[in-house]
Symmetry: C2
């Protein structure tokens, strides 16, 4: 193995261990792991794979972003709509919409900005809670939808190792969530590139049906 | 965290990393990880959980072992039988039956001896190949069947991290295998404690049907 590869491998494993041994939600280490694992060559491959569908290809041309999201306004919509349920999810969990703060000037920066700013919409659309098993469910869904992304497989792995080390009593619900997320992600239409802000007024169930998102 | 717990955690993580960075089949490190993760308290809990079924409870009383297995003799049985297919699996893969070489004198040593010596029978009965995805399928099956075992979840995790680091192109088949193994293991009757040497002449399909092992 070349010296630089070995340094890269060591850096990845150090970062992975830091995530395993620190409490959930260490975003500094998650961002570092993303940077190390999804290197430029991997990001190019993800862009190429997502461009295979007309929706993905178009997204890389138009680069649509959510823009400013007014949660209080969305929370006035009928309670069955995507907009209301997204706003409710954000308010209940004390979350603020991440407006893309990196400059989007090519396919790779668009990919990163879009995935970041739509993360909580994916939570709502897939029905994945923000607890430990819900995060695993969504990570497995990402693994199915963003191949050959390496970050979400590593994050899923990190959560399985935390379970084996510290909380084996969660094993069943974590493994069930992983299985559900993977199968749902394989079966669903691609979520990448959807212009969610055109769907705020659509009932969530209709959004899920149109995307073939089926809960078991 | 107490100092001894921290030392234990460090030893587990060191061993885990050794497995991630070494080629598949590092049995020295696997045995060490088993010793560290399945500590006496965990082993007691596994025995208690497996004793909840009459079959498991009886196995801990009778402690049946396979004994000497004559592969050439089994290979003369009709080709649809468990015995023939087990022998064929062993011969094709250049494997020798592991006769229990630890002294079995209590429930914990029985658990360890029985799981070791029946490993390749579980391969045949679950239809899991000995390639990377087959091992992951069987590990997920063990996770479902041997709760609260911590070793097989860690081994599964190790293989997912190897995939994320070195072979992301295997991701789909590894995740499919994991999902299949977990669902199969949840659905099947317990395999622990079965006296396999009484089933050599039974067609494999009948064994699988009676154990609710269903391939998807």
């Amino acid at each position: 193995m070349a010296a630089t590869q070995q340094t890269q491998e060591t850096a990845i494993l150090d970062c992975f261990l830091e995530l395993v041994t620190s409490p959930y939600g260490n975003f500094t280490a998650i961002n570092k792991l993303a940077y190390l694992l999804n290197d430029p060559a991997t990001l190019q491959k993800i862009v190429a794979a997502l461009s295979l569908t007309p929706q993905g290809k178009q997204a890389f041309i138009d680069r649509p972003l959510l823009g400013q999201v007014d949660l209080q306004h969305l929370h006035q919509l009928p309670t069955e709509t995507l907009g209301y349920l997204y706003a409710d999810h954000m308010i209940r969990n004390g979350l603020t919409p991440l407006s893309a703060n990196t400059q989007v000037n090519d396919s790779i920066t668009y990919l990163q900005a879009h995935i970041s700013e739509t993360h909580d919409i994916w939570h709502v659309v897939t029905g994945a809670d923000t607890d430990k098993s819900g995060e695993v469910q969504l990570e497995a869904f990402y693994v199915a939808q963003l191949y050959p992304d390496r970050l979400f497989l590593a994050l899923l792995t990190k959560n399985l190792l935390k379970t084996a080390l510290y909380e084996i009593e969660l094993c069943e619900q974590i493994m069930d969530a992983l299985t559900q997320g993977w199968m749902m992600g394989r079966q669903a239409k691609p979520l990448f590139g959807i212009q969610w802000n055109q769907l705020w007024e659509t009932p969530l169930e209709d959004v899920q049906t149109s995307l073939c998102i089926i809960k078991r």
